[in-house]
Symmetry: C2
Subunit: 355 residues, 2 copies
């Protein structure tokens, strides 16, 4: 039986890196005898919005819900559509409606990539950020009062539920158990954000009782970002709310020098709905259309998708191919952001061949 993959390339460099993601996946599928069937969708882009006045057709849920996974590029083009409209109209809908309550992002210093941190080598930085992906600070509850006057006031509710907090914590603890160091760090801000964050801490303490083998610590988000820079080697699995996870999963890849190549998975662990796999980088209007975007984030996200579908060996092979091509450091092949003279195509082809 074929695995049905919905492909949404989105905007900007999303449309440029997507073909390389598919090329690599097809190479892995061939080698490991996996049957992947790709279906491409045009919606979920700002151009679609300009034509239709919305980011997605009304029946998007029906159209997508029976796919085995969504393979996603990048969305957003602020000059065409304000970000909060394009994102809340697409990506954030998928995450919420398909209950992809885990956002998983590896932060790994790869061979051949220079960390902006002094003296850090591959092996020194290797952790996961597990982000709550459906509630918390990203809420749609709130509004304005006394609009347009001096007394104007704007409210937005952060919403945490026991169900929502516990399930992401459980996922993070379970993940920590599969790792050699068995360490979990919780991101909090309970000294300043005095209602939701102490609650988060309580649930972490409660969940920790069920995992006596996991070493648990917590940091307030301010000093935690500092420690990502000062002591990236401290971390193994880091779990945070929607906003804190968002911040940490950009900062972490930045510390590994890989903001342009980091992957992510938006997972519905129960498999009730399709999970979504996308690079961490955005649509990058500044370099879009030049063919120079780095396709590794898309390819690596494809590897996370194969892992999710149960093909661990194929996934490992894809990541290994990325590492090998990076190690070799052939400047004709590598894109400019990582010191090469090549482009999206040259790097995508090299990785696909290696697979």
């Amino acid at each position: 039986m074929a695995h049905r993959i919905a492909v949404i390339a989105g905007d900007g460099i999303g449309t440029e890196v997507m073909p390389e993601g598919i090329r690599a996946l097809e190479a892995a599928a061939k080698r490991f005898n996996i049957d992947l069937a790709f279906t491409t969708f045009e919606f979920g882009s700002c151009d679609y919005y300009l034509e239709h006045g919305k980011m997605l057709p009304d029946d998007w849920f029906e159209q997508l819900k029976d796919f085995d996974a969504l393979f996603y590029g990048a969305v957003g083009w602020p000059d065409k559509v304000p970000d909060h409209i394009s994102l809340w109209g697409s990506l954030l809908q998928f995450r919420r409606q398909f209950d992809q309550y885990i956002n998983l992002r590896p932060c790994k210093l790869m061979p051949g990539i220079k960390s902006p941190l002094a003296g850090r080598e591959p092996g020194d930085i290797d952790f996961y950020v597990v982000r709550e992906n459906t509630e918390g600070e990203y809420s749609s509850v709130g509004g304005k009062m006394f609009e347009g006057t001096e007394r104007e006031i704007v409210l937005q509710e952060t919403v945490m539920s026991r169900v929502g907090v516990d399930r992401v914590l459980k996922y993070a603890f379970d993940l920590a158990q599969t790792r050699p160091r068995k360490k979990l760090t919780s991101a909090t801000k309970s000294n300043g954000i005095s209602i939701t964050m102490p609650y988060w801490d309580e649930r972490v303490a409660e969940m920790a009782k069920q995992y006596p083998d996991i070493a648990v610590d917590k940091f307030h988000i301010d000093i935690l970002t500092a420690n990502f820079v000062l002591h990236p080697d401290w971390f193994d699995v880091v779990v945070g709310s929607n906003l804190f996870g968002d911040i940490l999963s950009d900062l972490g890849p930045a510390c590994t020098g890989t903001i342009g190549i980091a992957p992510s998975a938006n997972i519905n662990p129960e498999g009730m709905f399709p999970s979504l796999f996308e690079p961490v980088h955005g649509s990058a209007p500044d370099i879009a259309g030049k063919g120079i975007a780095n396709p590794i984030g898309q390819i690596w996200s494809g590897a996370m998708m194969l892992e999710h579908l149960g093909y661990q060996e194929a996934a490992d092979t894809m990541v290994k191919a990325i590492e090998d091509v990076l190690s070799e450091g052939n400047s004709q092949v590598l894109t400019r952001d990582i010191g090469g003279l090549g482009n999206t195509l040259s790097l995508g082809h090299a990785i696909a061949e290696r697979i």
Copy 2:
């Protein structure tokens, strides 16, 4: 007329670095003929809480409101009192009741201090974080429902007012105007936090019209933290909400290697109430009682206090003294966190003598 300074040392290393802060201030006062009168208060510490069941006496506002400034150490000792109680019972009360709506924190790579970022030298990193300090994500509005059950839900309101947003933006734009690069960066997250943050962006755009000479840009907080690490030289004045400013003003000093020595000012610009000057570091229970804490954050905060009181030359002299002692790099003098063999006293004395 003497300037009346209220001294609250607080907890942990706060009590150890405070005497060195005062020593340096007295040296500067002597040299520049400034009349400073210090009054010490015992409240605002966790020990006070254990004795009195509250962090502050009921009449703290009356007792403190006529001082010219508050010189503050550090508060918090989680093993004695939960952080959200000790902080909301003291520091956060001062900030809010004394309407210290600006939190100003310099991020400057100092001579003799090693940045954790590869290849960065003094001069490369030199910016200010301006943080909104009274509203936003640090709100006291919210609560729980279905407590203790599976359906438990916890809400906390982020509150932004036009008055609150505009006044911090105005301060930040004014500050940018005094700087050679005249550049302002706004921290946002309007793509995900869809009500308050687009409002913040709107107010920035509105205020920018009044400052045509200032170059304004904005970044979402996730990529902004990444850019602090990747491109710290891009920044001049960075303005953010209460939470975003909190994060950036720990991360910024971390990038300059000075998380233990960074100062901060909590300012009521109109001078209706006293402003408060404190090091960025906390009470550091892990090293408290050993006499090894670095006093530079406290001394540098003292310099910011003198600047606020109108003594620019004295403030500059204090900062220069810190820089000189750091440049010399005498290991007998420097504390261990910056590679020396000395302690709080040796470093404090050396700086005071230099002044």
